[in-house]
Subunit: 194 residues, 2 copies
DNA sequence: GTCTATATAGTGATAGAC
DNA sequence: GTCTATCACTATATAGAC
């Protein structure tokens, strides 16, 4: 069905534009122009701006779930998988330097204006937290698993914010080395105490 | 002169509103309403929205410079002063949970839309970086002073982002304890190697 | 210095032809 | 399912009276 295809294209374009410009600074006209459809047609697929935001958040959630499942399927230790997460800041460095972290900047923007979809956006952040917690649990960090998860997540947000502000590649590399060393230390501590 | 007073009130109100709602989501009408003046009068003091943004950034810079100078004047070690910086996330916890870090969220918003004042806003971030670098230098962390400065700054941004997303007070407290322990360790290493 | 009135452009959203 | 035309509203910004 070609109708669903247009809808998919709209969500895809909105996803990019919300990331690159922010939700508030992106207009229906911007999205319609990107998909090359009229503004009128736009409203056949989405009645309100909040509706398209909800669709974008849903897409982002599903994308991240798929990514984490791929990492789970990779043979390897939970430590390897946490390193996968850490290295996102290097993999996506160029985009992060330009637009920040897609998850962090959206949750911050929606929380600021107290938008109804704010809690929905937070689910993406919570998804990462819970996935990281599980990895640290498997690693053997029983009672500290969630603390460590939040620490790594918080670290990634801080690095993304400063990468965007200073565009300093060496800083990102150095911080990745530091946090991987921290992870190694905790992994060894957890293994030895078993 | 009462003219300067109105201008000051406008900048003060804009500063708050830009923090609480973001720059893009704050209109002249919002600011005028907060100061209780007409929109027309507003334009006597500021010709464009960028002009008031520049004034707000200038005010924020001066406010932070004054804060750091107060800390510098406090008798105590550079370690004590870095702890002052670290504890901002506790001092301003309530506001951070609602609106994030005023410095981090503004730099992120302006960088995203590639606003002309983006680099000006980054100066506030750079001010903290340079001040922290100086503290670490005095502490004796010669070649690692700036690395450590960026690490602490990045840490604060990460904590602010997650505090806003999860509103988890225990997380903030725990992270402060961790980074203070990290600072203590580095301070002792630097002192012993002198 | 402050006001009211207004110009102009853009926003989200709707109606109806094809 | 896609379009054009249009609505009501809000935004930044200006002109001119007081």
């Amino acid at each position: 069905m070609p109708g669903k295809e247009t809808r998919r294209l709209i969500v895809e374009a909105a996803d990019e534009l919300f990331y690159e410009r922010g939700f508030g600074e992106t207009s229906f006209a911007d999205i319609a122009a990107a998909v090359k459809i009229s503004r009128g047609n736009f409203y056949y697929h989405f009645k309100t701006k909040d509706e398209i935001l909800e669709a974008v958040i849903e897409k982002r959630l599903l994308d991240r779930i798929a990514m984490l499942e791929r990492w789970d399927e990779i043979r390897g230790s939970p430590e390897d998988r946490i390193v996968c997460f850490i290295k996102i800041v290097i993999t996506n460095q160029t985009k992060i330097m330009a637009y920040g972290c897609p998850v962090g900047t959206l949750t911050a923007e929606l929380a600021k204006i107290d938008h109804p979809a704010s809690s929905r956006a937070n689910e993406i952040m919570a998804l990462f937290r819970d996935w990281l917690t599980r990895q640290f649990e498997v690693l053997g960090c029983k009672d500290k698993a969630e603390d460590h998860a939040l620490h790594v997540l918080s670290w990634s947000q801080g690095v993304a914010t400063l990468a965007q502000a200073f565009k300093d590649e060496a800083f990102v590399t150095r911080e990745v080395e530091n946090i991987v060393a921290w992870l190694d230390l905790n992994a060894r501590l957890a293994t030895s105490s078993r």
